[in-house]
Symmetry: C2
Subunit: 586 residues, 2 copies
């Protein structure tokens, strides 16, 4: 049956060795009191919550789905209790400021928590997923009275926020949205909107819900420059119901336990957040954190897929393998993880999952440094890198999450296709993350057009610098010299391909749009390569008796032989795309 | 909303130009009376049946699923009536011998029919899917009295057969099966078996069901050499119920309208088909046709995905595209099929779908030639090629069907993830085809180990010969010379990689198992390349006024620029896999 245990050992490895996080924490005033022992304690508690409270509700939540009647949403059995345990455990407060009642812990720890929540129960975690982003957004842009009133309630989990962006005609293109807000004499606004696909737009987990709504002021400019952000609570101060109505919930392929709502706002009372017509900028504060979270969904599904496939592959016996591990004698049938095709699948699951964890946590760690590092230069550098990497995390991780869930399903054979084992649920749940929070195609354009070509390659040069430093260190490390050589060659190729794209883009403006998807995949593979060089190198610091030492080196070897050829393929595809791309005839 | 129209124009193009089928039909006595006009008429009728009868039941069948109560299965609303229309239309008789009441039409036409059935309603088509294979199997191996009694009923559709192979402990490894059959004095057998994942094991479409059951005779040798095949009817001659019980149906990720049954046989009366202990050989008759059918499921899903994505991409407007077709002026937002990432997705959908259609129909056509060509040499050559290509069709097409369904879903954005548009159903339905009828990993081993290395490369040399002939013809055709050059280079690379694998396999027996998956993908891509060279070349025969002429050339250009780089990637992966592959630690 489907099961999930938080991969605490690997998380700890990334914190301690791959990131050397304690050294960075010591360079901030915010985290100087934090040490690995405390971090480990938090991870263990989060692990218990995810495996003991959320994981047992994953399949039942999917089967049951949400109830909807007369505007009310009922979440699946156990969800309300799990949410109570979540707030009582202080998980909603983890990375919030102590001044607001938060625990003041790093986003790095929150990233590990999020991975666990999404891995153990994506549907449930949709309700809490936007809370930290909304907290950051309000903190940066809301008037003081709103901050004073609502931030502590978000931190405590008394209220849950939503992000109301999509409308039927405005999905990827937020500039097309039509929702309206009219100013009132008392400083509030009347918001009239019809919003679609709003996760947690209505539910029974928290008493109140805070809707962050994008809408247009009267006479606002057309397009995305005329959009403002409003806070519209479900319940007003005197516990009076606001004019917000849930019109229905979607029947979806996956995350069925998450209520995806149509919301109708009819002259609902709301307040402007940030400046008029600058709603996208205000919401942008949520973006890096929200996109990182979605990337962590991909990582979480990959981890769940890997755990379940590994466990099934050890139990299931079918056919004799051409070769067995030393000392294992032949039986009628071998466990299927002896078979080469299954070994390859399983090693790919491990290599991608552990590699993504290192890279994903790195970005969370960069966001902490961007906010709290004592050096302004380092803060700037960290922000630049985090912004560059965010679209890769969002798109590459979620592509991989879906791909790896499908690979894991294949390990189960026919049993993978039936609901009983729930690996098919992992596949269904994982698919949404490629779409929402900016589709993966939009991430690819953001990466290549804005983040790489848009700043004259400065951020990308920063990334290459980090990777080249790693290559140099690996070159002088036992067992790792070859990895260092290969990583240096890869950096040269990356630099060359960016130059080539930049030159070609001058001649033909559409070219970078054609290759953006390949470029993002290339960056994803290169980052995994980087992750595995560093993992191999720092695993040398572990005692010989630690099985992780051999495992990391082995998986690095696997990735360099079996995973890295994709980089050349993507580069070849980028060059091949100099050929035009026809329009589909009507 | 989800819709399906049979792609009659492209089917006709493959029949007439790509295959030049009428010329081959003329070289057989069986099909010499068949011409394109008649074939076209059959296709049109099949198209009407699939789009007017089956397609409207696709989504409702998925939502409703099958009912199960007290051993009885109820199919979704409309399924019984659709099955009646199917048998009354004579579709069950299409490719059966006239002597048995069949229409004696080629498997090529049946392949087109199957593509339509699976594309329009995979769940429904599961009930009829095995019938032709069972017909062939019984025809080849059953005693005369069984043939006389049952073949006409299969042909007329009065009864539907099943294939009862899988048991809980025996999936890919049929040698592990434990079902038993004991001979009786009257020449029949008592079959005791517990079978799992039996498609159509019980339903309300036909009055009787014929189970083809693999089981062991007393004292049969262990493993796959001790397996015999039995025919076990649900109803015996006097309409008495046999001791076969449906114990339950699976809840599955997709094809929910198809009843996937657990069947319990308790001393059920059955009859031996073929020789004792030669059950796998007898069932093998069904294999080529059954695996081709599963491949056609992948093709059908790809076609449905392509149609629906194209249609949605034309209607949906979001954001301005960097470039528009000549003469189209800017609006607030362009139809999304103007955006480069979407154009690439849509062209990939077209290129793979139409390319697979040519290759898949070619294999069906080869099976016709293998049976009916006047020359024994040609019959042998056709069979050799069909057997070589069958695992590629099964695995590559179904991988593509799933991949392309996911690409199409992405075109729909958030609308793709909700049930309303049913593209998510296409994705869910398509996933099973990678698993059943021999998992795609087993197909890869079959291709490389048995079909390519196993016969000293004779069949593969035949394939290269066909492809090189095509390259030579393209070289001397207007607009196609470059395709010819590239195809010839690709043939050289294929020959080289097979030699390299063969040499390495001598040194290390496990190596081909490690690369079998990559090799199968390589063959799939190469076959698409071959398909597109021929499509481009023979499209020159169309009048200039036919839009298909330009479309085929355009899509060939797309495939050679954007699709073919994968071939080098697969070759590089095959070489990289010389590195060992660790065992996962327990």
């Amino acid at each position: 049956m489907w099961q999930y245990q938080a991969p605490l050992r690997d998380m700890q490895f990334v914190f301690e060795h791959w990131l050397d996080a304690p050294r960075a924490w010591a360079q901030t005033t915010r985290f100087e009191g934090l040490d690995l022992a405390l971090a480990q304690q938090v991870l263990e508690q989060a692990g218990r919550f995810s495996s003991q409270v959320l994981a047992p509700l994953n399949s039942s939540g999917d089967r049951q789905g949400c109830g909807f009647e007369a505007g009310q949403v009922t979440t699946p059995s156990g969800f309300v209790e799990a949410y109570r345990a979540y707030t009582e455990g202080g998980w909603s407060a983890l990375a919030c400021d102590e001044a607001d009642g938060g625990q003041g812990l790093p986003q790095l720890l929150d990233a590990a928590l999020q991975e666990m929540l999404y891995a153990s129960n994506h549907g449930w975690a949709m309700y809490t997923g936007i809370a930290h982003g909304a907290y950051l957004c309000l903190k940066a842009h809301a008037p003081e009275w709103i901050k004073a009133r609502y931030l502590p309630q978000i931190v405590s989990g008394e209220i849950l926020p939503t992000m109301c962006l999509t409308e039927p005609q405005a999905g990827s293109d937020v500039g097309l949205l039509r929702s309206r807000a009219e100013p009132q004499d008392d400083g509030s606004y009347r918001v009239t909107a019809s919003k679609l696909f709003i996760s947690g737009g209505e539910h029974d987990l928290s008493a109140n819900i805070l809707h962050l709504v994008l809408a247009r002021l009267p006479n606002a400019p057309a397009g995305s420059r005329g959009i403002s952000l409003f806070l519209v609570p479900k319940l007003l101060d005197d516990h009076q119901t606001n004019n917000v109505r849930c019109d229905g919930i979607e029947h979806k392929m996956g995350i069925r336990a998450s209520a995806t709502c149509s919301l109708v706002f009819e002259q609902a009372q709301g307040w402007l957040i940030g400046e008029a017509n600058r709603g996208l900028a205000a919401m942008f504060v949520m973006m890096n954190s929200a996109r990182l979270h979605v990337g962590l969904q991909g990582l979480g599904h990959a981890e769940a897929a890997w755990q379940n496939a590994r466990s099934y592959a050890r139990e299931r016996k079918q056919m004799r393998a051409p070769v067995r591990p030393a000392g294992v004698s032949a039986e009628d049938a071998d466990p299927i993880h002896f078979h080469p095709a299954m070994r390859r699948t399983l090693l790919e699951l491990r290599a991608c999952t552990e590699g993504m964890r290192a890279v994903g946590y790195w970005v969370a760690h960069l966001l902490d440094q961007a906010e709290h590092h004592s050096s302004p230069v380092e803060r700037q550098r960290a922000l630049q890198l985090a912004q560059l990497l965010t679209p890769v995390i969002k798109a590459f991780f979620t592509d991989q999450g879906f791909h790896l869930a499908s690979s894991a399903l294949q390990v189960f054979g026919g049993y993978g296709y039936v609901s009983e084992f729930a690996i098919e649920q992992t596949l269904r749940d994982s698919r949404i993350a490629m779409i929402y929070e900016g589709s993966n195609e939009i991430q690819a354009n953001d990466l290549l057009l804005r983040k790489v070509l848009g700043d004259d390659g400065q951020a990308f040069a920063q990334l290459l610098l980090v990777m080249r430093e790693e290559a140099a260190q690996a070159l002088s490390t036992n067992d790792c010299a070859n990895f260092g050589t290969e990583l240096a060659v890869l950096c040269d190729k990356l630099a060359a391909v960016v130059s080539a794209v930049r030159e070609r883009a001058v001649e033909e403006g559409e070219y970078p749009y054609r290759v953006a998807g390949d470029f993002l995949q290339l960056c994803g593979v290169a980052l995994l390569g980087f992750a595995w060089v560093r993992a191999a190198r720092v695993s040398r610091l572990l005692p010989d008796s630690d099985p992780l030492q051999a495992s990391k080196l082995q998986t690095a070897h696997f990735f360099f032989a079996y995973g890295l050829p994709e980089a050349d393929y993507r580069i070849a595809s980028i060059h091949a795309a100099k050929a035009g791309l026809a329009f589909i005839e009507p």
